[in-house]
């Protein structure tokens, strides 16, 4: 059923519960011998990855490294842009070799960001496998990419977008469908 304009898909409490569920699902999806690292895609994937790491540590007792990925330099439309977008630092202070890398982002839409992120992370090393975790999964894919773990699947009418807010950046958590 299409969502109405400004419809709230998740309130702050629901975001927190969803992250807890995603952390539990992730634990169930990886084998005990896998070494998991989280890579948050800037901007809003990073705080989500940090919160998931805290939840994973509480669940398993083991610390989970968190890195950040800025995909700007790997965008497929970069050389056609008017004005170079500002690049923020990528911080991966650990090896990705043979690790299970979980890419974390707020919204999965066209799949182009994830494609760029995979190119970027493969330049840092060869992981055992790469998984994708998103808070909100919406329609509109332009590449054959899907999420392994998604907090909520949102139907978005034409001319609308999914807005994810995280308290670290926006002051409050929430997922809403808004007119563009």
């Amino acid at each position: 059923m299409p969502a109405a304009q400004g419809q709230c898909s998740m309130d702050p409490g629901q975001v927190e519960l969803t992250l807890q569920r995603l952390a539990a699902e992730l634990v169930a999806r990886v084998k005990p011998e896998e070494e998991v690292v989280l890579l948050g895609i800037r901007s809003r994937g990073l705080p989500l990855a940090e919160r998931l790491a805290t939840l994973l540590r509480a669940a398993t007792g083991a610390p989970v490294p968190v890195g950040s990925l800025d995909i700007t330099l790997y965008r497929d439309d970069l050389t056609e842009m008017v004005g170079s977008p500002i690049v923020r630092p990528t911080e991966i202070p650990f090896t990705l070799k043979d690790r299970t890398v979980v890419l974390v982002d707020d919204v999965l839409y066209t799949g182009r960001t994830v494609r760029s992120a995979m190119d970027a992370l493969l330049d840092h090393g060869r992981p055992h496998r790469v998984m994708l975790l998103v808070l909100a999964d919406r329609s509109g894919r332009e590449l054959p990419i899907q999420a392994d773990l998604a907090g909520v699947r949102v139907e978005v009418p034409p001319g609308h977008r999914v807005a994810v807010r995280v308290k670290e950046i926006d002051g409050e958590d929430g997922v809403t469908v808004e007119a563009c």
């Binding site: 330099l73 790997y74 050389t79 004005g83 170079s84 500002i86 690049v87 990528t90 190119d119």
Partner: protein, 319 residues
């Protein structure tokens, strides 16, 4: 970091003079992001300038600056053409425009140029669709050197504002100085120029009224956070302004005795190439306070930042 909406407003990098403090900060911040690329243990290349053609057009010899630009271009995945021009047999004015027209016909995206004439880059900018990067023009500007100096200082001190920096030596013949004066004064650094009266033109104060000029190196040293030594450029005519190299060294060489007068944590910079034993002794140049090789290392991410920010020209452009 600048806000996500900030767009670098310049089409060319002809000098530091046209840059605002915000533009300078954006360049230094972007260089920080590119430093991560340069320090990766794995692949030090990003596809940011893929499909872009960069021409390195050097009318004057320069091994280090050119190598640094070339490494920066390769790390950005640009296509590169090196165009070495021999000016000595050519009429410069006509040839530069001819050269520009010929280059334009190959549709380059960026041109990195070193030329001895201060106006050469602006002239080229008027005739080309490509973005022009000044890699040094006579004794006028050398913007990427000033940016890498500032980057090195900011990385070490975590700030620029309020720092005290002495620039010492052949101020008259140095293009590094002019770019540094624009940049450092604009970012709130207190600059003192030091050298023999013949090599420190008083008229610099007309353009940069906040700088100090002093001819007594020993008196200046204790208060400085950084000492930037310049190359005594005897090949550019430094010798005509001073009695001799021995006397120059006696008053303006940075040596262990002078380092004893400096703050313990002072840092020493030099744009290279060094005249060991002339403006600086080897034990100081290689000593614990020197950031000279850091400057060389930082040159690559700084030039990557310049090329990246110019590679997607903005709609409303200023020179």
């Amino acid at each position: 970091m600048p806000s996500e909406r900030y767009v670098f407003p310049h089409r060319h990098l002809l000098g530091i003079q046209p840059l605002s403090p915000q533009d300078i900060t954006a360049l230094l911040d972007q260089a920080q992001a590119f430093e991560e690329v340069c320090e990766r243990p794995s692949i030090k290349i990003v596809p940011a300038l893929r499909k872009k053609l960069v021409v390195n057009l050097f009318f004057e010899n320069s091994t280090r600056t050119r190598n640094s630009f070339e490494i920066a271009e390769k790390r950005l995945s640009a296509e590169i053409i090196n165009f070495d021009a021999d000016t000595s047999s050519l009429n410069k004015g006509e040839t530069l425009i001819d050269t520009a027209m010929n280059l334009q016909a190959m549709h380059p995206d960026l041109i990195v140029m070193r030329h001895s004439a201060p106006g050469a880059h602006a002239l080229l900018a008027r005739h080309m669709k490509a973005s022009i990067v000044n890699a040094g023009d006579g004794s006028h500007e050398h913007p990427t050197q000033a940016l890498l100096d500032a980057y090195t200082l900011r990385k070490h001190f975590q700030r620029l504002e309020g720092l005290r920096v002495a620039i010492v030596g052949d101020i008259r013949n140095s293009r590094v100085v002019r770019s540094n004066l624009w940049l450092l004064t604009r970012m709130g650094v207190k600059v003192t120029l030091v050298g023999p009266p013949t090599l420190v033109p008083q008229e610099l104060k007309a353009t940069w009224p906040d700088i100090e000029i002093c001819h007594d190196f020993d008196a200046v040293i204790p208060s400085q956070d950084a000492i930037m030594m310049l190359r005594a450029q005897f090949e550019r005519g430094t010798g005509a302004y001073i009695p001799g190299q021995g006397e120059y060294s006696r008053f303006f060489q940075l040596n262990p005795a002078r380092m004893k007068r400096a703050k313990k944590d002072v840092v020493v910079l030099h744009p290279g190439p060094i005249n060991r034993g002339l403006e600086i002794t080897s034990d100081v140049a290689d000593g614990p306070n020197n950031l000279i090789l850091d400057q060389v290392t930082n040159g690559v991410p700084v030039r990557m930042a310049v090329l990246y920010l110019l590679s997607n020209p903005h709609g409303e452009q200023v020179p």
